[in-house]
Symmetry: C2
Subunit: 114 residues, 2 copies
Amino acid sequence: MSSSKIKLNGRIWIENADGPMLGPGRVELLERIQQSGSIRQAAMQMGMSYRQAWQLVDHMNVNLADPVVISHRGGKGGGKAEVTATGQKAIAEFKRIHQLFHDFMDQHSKEIDL
Amino acid sequence: MSSSKIKLNGRIWIENADGPMLGPGRVELLERIQQSGSIRQAAMQMGMSYRQAWQLVDHMNVNLADPVVISHRGGKGGGKAEVTATGQKAIAEFKRIHQLFHDFMDQHSKEIDL
């Protein structure tokens, strides 16, 4: 008997030899930094500490070809964070592959016969 | 700059409305039960408690159309566990889709341009 409620689910990420580099959480963080102009704001929106968000950004900055976020320090209300062209490319590239992954899951969910 | 070390990785599982039903760990558990004829042996091989293994098996037994494992109690050295035809089908079905997922990751790993 096959139930229509049965479906495939999963998650993907991009990694190098040292481990995960880019996944759904980091891409969301980059998008929120882009929208808010602030690592601190983005971290708050996602319920993570500033330290944790900063470490994720720093890890991407070190592991990708070029930095994904540049911080401009100081000024009223703290520094401003900017997602670079490399960061925007990383967001787009991950979302493109993630959409293909969703298509894959949709397609094969229909086939499951358990 | 694109690094050849960069690749896509991920995990998939089959779920129903109540949550995950079948993933790589449960399939490995079923295969080890099939090989050893024992939930206890399979649990030990995977470094999990008998209770944890039994709960995973019970969850599959309840959520799939028919039981995946039948336990025959008693006898010398404890009961014998048998993976049913439904269980064998579940193993084969998950492995088939998992292979397609690996093909998907291999294919798109080559495209990543970060």
